[in-house]
C-alpha cells in the first residue's frame, strides 16, 4: 500500500508534462487532466492516510527510495520520499485543498483573461507543477530533495503571479516574489552546506539524530544552522523581514492566491521549521527569535490589513498575520498545535480567497471594497461561505476551525521559555486586530448600501441572479463545512474536547509542549473570545454603524500619516528599494560598459595615439630626418659621457 507513495507527487507531475507536451488539448481535456491529476493524488493521499491511521507502519514512518541522485565524496542524496504523521498531514492538505482549488479554477479561469480563457492550458500546467513541487518538498527524505521542491515552488509562484504576463506590473510582482524568496533560499542553501560539512549527511532524520548527539544545546554551530534554516523559512513564509513579496503576489489570478496562501508555498517555511524542530530545540536563542518574529509579524500584518482597500490585499496581510501565529507556535515549541493551525488555516484561507474570487469576478475585476457593499443578498452562497471562513479566521462560533489559534496562544502563555506572557499579549492583541479587519472586510463587502460597482454589476431592474457554476460552488461548500467542523479534530480540553490531532502527531513530536492547567486554559480561552467579540463589535461600530467616525479619524493629520504608513506595509518596500534595489541598479547602470574593459580600451587608444605620433615622423622631409639624426646623436653622446 505504501509503495504507492511515489504516485502522489508523480501524478501532478504527469499532468504537467501532458499539458506541456500536448499543444492541441481541448478545453475540456485540459480541465480533466489539470484537476484530475491532483484529484487522483488526493485520493492516493487519503488512501494512505486511512491506512496509516488503521495500521500504522513500524516506527510510524515509511520511506521509499526511488534512486540515488548522486554520489560524490560522501555526498549521497537520494531521491527518496518519507512519510510520517507530519508529512502525511501536509500531503493530505496540499492535495485535497489543491484539488478543490483546481476544480474551482476549471470554471473560474475559463472566463478570466484577455481574451477569456487565454492560457488555460498554461495555467493548469503551472498549477500542476506547483502542487507537484510542494509535494516533493513535503515528502522529501533529504534536505537536498526538499530544496528541489522548495525552489520548484518558488519558480511556480513566479510563473503564476506573473501569469498575465503582458502587464509589466504583474511581471514586477512575480520577479519580486521570486527574488525576495530566493534571498531566503540562499540562506537555506548555506544552511545545507553547514549541516553537510559538520554532520556529514543531508538525510533529514539522520542529520537530526547526529545533531542531537554531537551538538550541545546553544552551541554556535547549532545556532548558526538553525538561523540559516530560519532565513529560508522566513523568506518562503513571508515573515519579517522578507514579507514584502506576499502582498504584491496578489497580481496573480485568484485561484493562484488561494493555492499560494493555503496549500503551497507560504506554509513551506512552517513545515521546514517543524521538520527540523530538533535543530531548533538545540538552539534556544533561534527558537525564541522564531517566536518573536512571529509575534512581530502578526501585529505588523494585522495593522496593515486594517487599512487596505483591496479585498485580496486584506486577505494577503491576513495570511502573513496567521503565519505569524504559526511561527509564534513553533517558537514556543507548540509543534502539534502549529501544524493544526496550518491545517485549519489552509481550509479557511482557501475558502476566503475562492469566495473573494467570485466577488471580484462578478464585479468585473473590482478589487476595491469601498465600491462593493450590499452583496449579501446578491451573492448568498458566496456570502454565507465567506462568513463561515471569516468566523473560522476569527475563531467565532459556529465555526470551530479557528480554535487552533487558541491552542497556540495557550501554549505561549504556559511555555517555560522566556517572554511567554509577552508573546501571549502580542497574540491576544492580534486576535482583536484579526476580528477587527476581518469584519471590516465582511461589512464593507457584503453589508451596507450597495456600492457603485455593485449597482453596476447588479442593475436594480434585473431580478435574475447569475448562477454560480457547480465547479465553483462545490469547493466553497466543502471548505465551508471544513470551517464549521474542522476544529473538532482538536477541540480544547477546556471545552471538554479530545486531542486527536496531537495524539496523531505525537510520533513526530514526542516531547509535547507544557500542558496548561485546565483552569488557566479556561481563563485564557475566555480572554481570547472576549478579544474577538470586542474586535467584531468595534468593526460593526466603526465600519457599519457610524463609518463617518473612522473616516474622520483617518482624515486627521496623525491619522492620515498612520493610515499611509500601514497601507504601505510599514514602508518596507521603500526601505528595501533605497537600501538594495536602487544601489544595485545604479551600480549596474554606471558600469554598463564595464570599467575593466574601458581600461583595455584605453590601452588600445594609447597605442593608436602612439602609432599616429610615430607615423607623423615618417613624412618624407629630409630636414626632419636630419634633425632626428642630430638629436639622436647628441643623446647618444650625452649618454656616453655621463653614464
Amino acid at each position: 500500500m505504501f509503495e504507492a507513495l511515489w504516485l502522489i507527487p508523480a501524478l501532478p507531475l504527469t499532468g504537467f508534462i501532458l499539458l506541456v507536451a500536448g499543444q492541441r488539448w481541448s478545453r475540456r481535456a485540459v480541465a480533466v487532466i489539470g484537476a484530475g491529476s491532483v484529484g487522483a493524488a488526493a485520493l492516493v493521499a487519503l488512501g494512505l492516510a486511512v491506512r496509516f491511521l488503521v495500521a500504522p507502519p513500524p516506527g510510524h514512518a515509511v520511506s521509499q527510495v526511488l534512486w540515488t541522485w548522486m554520489n560524490v565524496a560522501g555526498l549521497t542524496p537520494r531521491i527518496s520520499l518519507y512519510l510520517d504523521a507530519l508529512s502525511l498531514t501536509m500531503t493530505v492538505v496540499v492535495t485535497v485543498v489543491g484539488f478543490l482549488i483546481h476544480l474551482y479554477s476549471t470554471a473560474c479561469m475559463a472566463e478570466q483573461g484577455e481574451p477569456p480563457g487565454e492560457g488555460y492550458r498554461r495555467f493548469f500546467a503551472y498549477m500542476n507543477l506547483f502542487v507537484a513541487s510542494m509535494l516533493v518538498l513535503v515528502l522529501a527524505d533529504n534536505l537536498l530533495l526538499l530544496y528541489l521542491g522548495w525552489e520548484g515552488v518558488g519558480v511556480c509562484s513566479y510563473l503564476l503571479i506573473g501569469f498575465w504576463y503582458q502587464d509589466p506590473a504583474n511581471g514586477r510582482a512575480a520577479m519580486k516574489a521570486f527574488i525576495v524568496t530566493r534571498v531566503g533560499d540562499t540562506a537555506l542553501a548555506v544552511g545545507l552546506f553547514l549541516l553537510f560539512v559538520h554532520l556529514g549527511t543531508l538525510q533529514i532524520q539522520e542529520a537530526m539524530q547526529r545533531a542531537a548527539a554531537q551538538w550541545t544545546p546553544g552551541s554556535t554551530l547549532a545556532v548558526a544552522a538553525a538561523a540559516l534554516l530560519l532565513g529560508g523559512a522566513v523568506g518562503k513564509s513571508a515573515q519579517l523581514p522578507l514579507q514584502t513579496w506576499l502582498p504584491d503576489a496578489m497580481a496573480g489570478p485568484t485561484p493562484v492566491s488561494a493555492l499560494i496562501h493555503a496549500a503551497t508555498m507560504v506554509t513551506a517555511g512552517v513545515y521546514l521549521v517543524a521538520r527540523t524542530h530538533v535543530l531548533f530545540e538545540l538552539a534556544p536563542a533561534v527558537q525564541l527569535l522564531v517566536a518573536v518574529l512571529g509575534a512581530a509579524t502578526l501585529l505588523f500584518a494585522g495593522f496593515s490589513a486594517l487599512t487596505q482597500w483591496d479585498l485580496k490585499r486584506v486577505l494577503a496581510y491576513s495570511t502573513i498575520s496567521q503565519l505569524g501565529y504559526m511561527f509564534l507556535g513553533l517558537g514556543v515549541g507548540a509543534w502539534s498545535a502549529t501544524m493544526f493551525h496550518f491545517v485549519t488555516h489552509a481550509v479557511f484561507k482557501s475558502l476566503l480567497f475562492l469566495a473573494a474570487g467570485v466577488v471580484i469576478a462578478r464585479l468585473h475585476e473590482e478589487h476595491n471594497m469601498f465600491r462593493m457593499g450590499g452583496l449579501r443578498r446578491k451573492l448568498p452562497v458566496v456570502f454565507w461561505t465567506f462568513l463561515a471562513g471569516a468566523c473560522a479566521l476569527t475563531s467565532l462560533p459556529p465555526a470551530t476551525a479557528g480554535f487552533s489559534k487558541e491552542l497556540i496562544l495557550n501554549a505561549a502563555w504556559c511555555s517555560a521559555g522566556p517572554g511567554g506572557p509577552w508573546l501571549y499579549g502580542a497574540g491576544l492583541a492580534g486576535v482583536f486586530l484579526t476580528a477587527l479587519y476581518t469584519f471590516r472586510m465582511v461589512f464593507l463587502t457584503f453589508f451596507g448600501p450597495p456600492g457603485d460597482q455593485t449597482a453596476k454589476a447588479f442593475p436594480a431592474g434585473s431580478a435574475r441572479r447569475p448562477l454560480l457554476e457547480k465547479a465553483m460552488a462545490l469547493p466553497l461548500l466543502v471548505l465551508a463545512a471544513g470551517c464549521l467542523f474542522g476544529g473538532l479534530l482538536e477541540w480544547p480540553a477546556a471545552l471538554g474536547g479530545h486531542p486527536f490531532f496531537v495524539k496523531f502527531m505525537s510520533s513526530v513530536f514526542p516531547g509535547a509542549a507544557e500542558e496548561c492547567p485546565l483552569a488557566t486554559e479556561r481563563i485564557l480561552s475566555a480572554a481570547a473570545v472576549l478579544a474577538t467579540l470586542l474586535g467584531a463589535l468595534s468593526a460593526y461600530v466603526l465600519f457599519l454603524r457610524c463609518p463617518g467616525f473612522a473616516r474622520a479619524l483617518a482624515a486627521t493629520p496623525a491619522g492620515a500619516a498612520v493610515h499611509r504608513f500601514w497601507l504601505s506595509g510599514w514602508g518596507f518596500d521603500g526601505l528595501y528599494d533605497r537600501l538594495f534595489v536602487r544601489p544595485l541598479v545604479w551600480v549596474a547602470r554606471i558600469n554598463q560598459a564595464d570599467f575593466i574593459d574601458q581600461m583595455y580600451q584605453g590601452l588600445a587608444q594609447l597605442n593608436v595615439g602612439l602609432h599616429r605620433l610615430l607615423s607623423r615622423t615618417q613624412n618624407g622631409r629630409v630636414r626632419w630626418y636630419a634633425a632626428g639624426l642630430a638629436v639622436g646623436a647628441i643623446l647618444l653622446l650625452m649618454m656616453a659621457v655621463f653614464l
Binding site: 560524490v72 513566479y158 512575480a174 560539512v197 544595485l584 564595464d594 574593459d597
Partner: protein
C-alpha cells in the same frame, strides 16, 4: 626534441569530447539557413575549430597541446571576422590579441618546464606523463604556473581578463557563439585541471586562495554586468562570465566535491548557454535585432520559443532538477568546506543570477509588446536541437552519476592538500612498504624529491605537525635542503617548515625515505 603526437583519453576528456561533438552538431544546426556567403569556407573553419578543440582535450604532449591550442584560434578569428555582426572586426582582433598573448606566455612556461625537466633528469621531452612531478624550486614552479594560468584564465575567462568575451560572443555568428561559450571557454578550465594543477601542485595550492577570489569575483561581477545589458546576446555572454566563475572556484577549492561540480558546470554551462545563444540567434534571424528594449510580449507571438527560453533561463539561474544546479551546489559545497566566506559570498551569486535571468525573460518574452513583431515560431529543426539540449540538462540534473563517474578517476588522481597527511601516516605506519626507497645519509646531490609540492600544499600545519614529529623521533639524521643547498644535519625542527622558511626538505631516516610518495596511490593502499 622529444615531441610526440601523444593523444590519450580518460573520463574527463571523453566527457568534453562528447560535449564537443554534440555542440558541434548544434552549431551546424544553427548555421543551416543563416550562412549564405562563402559557405564552404565557413564550414571549413567551423570544422577546423572543432578539430582543434577536440585535439586540445586529447593531447598529452605539451608541444602538441600548444599547437592545437593555437589551431583553435585562427579559424575562430575568421568565423567572427567574416560572418559576424556589425562590430565584428574589432571584436575579432580583440579576441585574437587576448588569446594569442596569453598563449605565448603559456609557450614560455612549456619551454621552461621542458628545460627544467631536461636539466634535472637528462631527458628532454614534452611528454606530459614524464613531466609530471618534475623537481622544481618553488619560485620556478610559481612562475611556470603563472604562464599556464595566464592562458587558461584568459580563455576561461576570469575577471579581469574577461573583456574579450562579451565582444566576441556578441559579434560572432550564432554557431560561433555556441562554440565559444560552449567549448572554447571549457578548454581553459580543462587546461587548469589537466595541466596547471597536476604539473605544479604546490604552486597551485599557493595560488588557490587568489584563484578562488577571482572565481567569486567573476560570479558576482559577471552577474551584475549581465543585469545591466540591453543587448540580448551580450547579456547571455556576461552570464558566461558568472558561470565560469563557479568553474574557477570549484577547480581551486581543491576538494573532489568542488572539482566534480566544476566539471559538471563545464558541461551544463555548455548546454544551457549554447541553447540560449541558439535562441537569440533564432530570434535575431527573425526580427533582425538583439535589442531587449525593442522586444517584450513575444510570448504571445511565439509561445514555443518563449517556453524554451524560460526553461533555459531557469537552468541558467540554477533551478534544482536541472544540471546547472547540481554543478553549482557541488562547487559551493566544496568551496564552503575550504572557506566558509568564499562559499557564502559565492552563494549570493545565486540571487544575482535570479535577477538577470528573470529580467531577461521579462524584457523579451513577458511584458507588453513594444513593437508589433510578426515572426514564425521555432521550426522542427530548431525545436529538435533545443529539446535535445533540454533533455541533457534534465538528465544531468536528476541523475548526474554517469557524468560524475566518468570524471572521477581523473579528478581523484590530482594531489590534494589532505593527501600529504594521509601519505605521511601511511609511511610512518609501514616503513618498509613497497614503494619506499632508501636514501643513504651520504646523499650529496639533489634527489628528485616529490615531497616538495606536498609540503607547499599543506593547509593545516598543526595537524601535520604531530605526524611529522612522529617521523622525526624515529629518524636518526635528517638532511635539510634549502634552495638546493644543504642547510644542516641532525634533529630537525618542524617549526621550520611550519613557518615555511624551508623550501626543500628531505627525510633520510636511514631505513625509509619519503621521496617516492607519488608511487603510493591516493587514499593509501586499497
Amino acid at each position: 626534441m622529444g615531441i610526440q603526437a601523444h593523444f590519450a583519453v580518460d573520463g574527463l576528456s571523453l566527457l568534453l569530447v562528447l560535449l564537443t561533438g554534440f555542440l558541434g552538431l548544434m552549431a551546424v544546426a544553427a548555421s543551416w539557413t543563416v550562412i549564405r556567403a562563402r559557405v564552404g569556407f565557413y564550414y571549413f573553419n567551423l570544422l577546423l575549430v572543432l578539430a582543434g578543440i577536440t585535439g586540445v582535450f586529447l593531447a598529452l604532449d605539451l608541444f602538441l597541446f600548444y599547437f592545437l591550442w593555437e589551431l583553435m584560434l585562427i579559424p575562430m578569428y575568421f568565423l567572427i571576422d567574416l560572418w559576424g555582426h556589425e562590430r565584428r572586426h574589432a571584436a575579432a582582433i580583440k579576441f585574437f590579441i587576448f588569446t594569442q598573448l596569453s598563449g605565448l606566455l603559456m609557450l614560455l612556461s612549456i619551454l621552461g618546464l621542458y628545460f627544467a625537466h631536461g636539466r634535472s633528469t637528462g631527458v628532454y621531452t614534452f611528454d606530459y606523463p614524464q613531466l609530471l612531478g618534475t623537481t622544481l624550486s618553488p619560485a620556478a614552479a610559481r612562475w611556470l604556473l603563472l604562464g599556464f594560468a595566464a592562458a587558461f584564465l584568459v580563455k576561461l575567462p576570469a575577471v579581469p581578463f574577461h573583456t574579450w568575451l562579451p565582444d566576441a560572443h556578441t559579434e560572432a555568428p550564432t554557431a560561433g557563439s555556441i562554440i565559444l561559450a560552449g567549448l572554447l571557454l571549457k578548454t581553459g578550465a580543462y587546461g587548469l585541471l589537466r595541466f596547471a594543477v597536476p604539473l605544479f601542485p604546490g604552486a597551485a595550492a599557493q595560488f588557490a586562495p587568489a584563484a578562488m577570489l577571482l572565481g567569486v569575483l567573476g560570479i558576482l561581477y559577471g552577474a551584475v554586468l549581465a543585469c545591466a545589458q540591453t543587448d540580448f546576446k551580450r547579456l547571455v555572454a556576461y552570464t558566461s562570465v558568472s558561470h565560469l566563475g563557479f568553474v574557477l572556484l570549484g577547480i581551486f577549492a581543491g576538494n573532489l566535491l568542488a572539482q566534480q561540480g566544476a566539471v559538471l558546470q563545464m558541461i551544463c554551462h555548455g548546454l544551457s548557454t549554447g541553447a540560449l545563444f541558439l535562441l537569440v540567434g533564432a530570434l535575431d534571424e527573425r526580427i533582425h535585432t538583439r535589442d531587449l528594449r525593442r522586444m517584450g510580449g513575444l510570448w504571445a507571438v511565439v509561445p514555443r520559443m518563449g517556453a524554451v527560453a524560460l526553461f533555459f533561463a531557469l537552468a541558467s539561474l540554477g533551478l534544482p532538477g536541472l544540471g546547472n544546479f547540481v554543478a553549482e551546489f557541488l562547487v559551493l559545497l566544496g568551496a564552503f568546506q575550504v572557506s566558509a566566506v568564499a562559499g557564502v559570498v559565492a552563494a549570493t551569486g545565486l540571487i544575482a543570477a535570479t535577477v538577470y535571468a528573470l529580467w531577461m525573460i521579462q524584457q523579451s518574452f513577458h511584458g507588453t509588446a513594444r513593437e508589433a513583431w510578426k515572426l514564425a515560431d521555432l521550426n522542427a529543426r530548431e525545436m529538435a536541437a533545443l529539446l535535445a539540449m533540454a533533455a541533457a540538462l534534465l538528465w544531468l540534473g536528476l541523475y548526474p552519476q554517469p557524468a560524475l563517474d566518468a570524471a572521477a578517476p581523473a579528478l581523484e588522481r590530482l594531489e590534494r592538500p589532505g593527501d600529504f597527511e594521509q601519505k605521511l601516516t601511511k609511511v610512518t605506519k609501514q616503513p618498509q612498504a613497497p614503494g619506499c626507497c632508501l636514501i643513504p645519509s651520504s646523499f650529496t646531490s639533489l634527489p628528485s624529491c616529490k615531497i616538495l609540492p606536498l609540503i607547499a600544499a599543506l593547509p593545516v600545519p598543526a595537524a601535520a605537525l604531530s605526524l611529522a614529529e612522529k617521523i622525526s623521533s624515529r629518524c636518526e639524521g635528517l638532511t635539510i635542503w634549502k634552495s638546493g643547498k644543504r642547510e644542516r644535519r641532525g634533529r630537525f625542527s618542524f617549526h621550520d617548515f611550519v613557518s615555511s622558511k624551508l623550501t626543500l626538505l628531505c627525510f633520510d631516516c636511514g631505513y625509509a625515505a619519503l621521496n617516492s610518495f607519488a608511487a603510493i596511490p591516493p587514499g593509501g593502499a586499497r
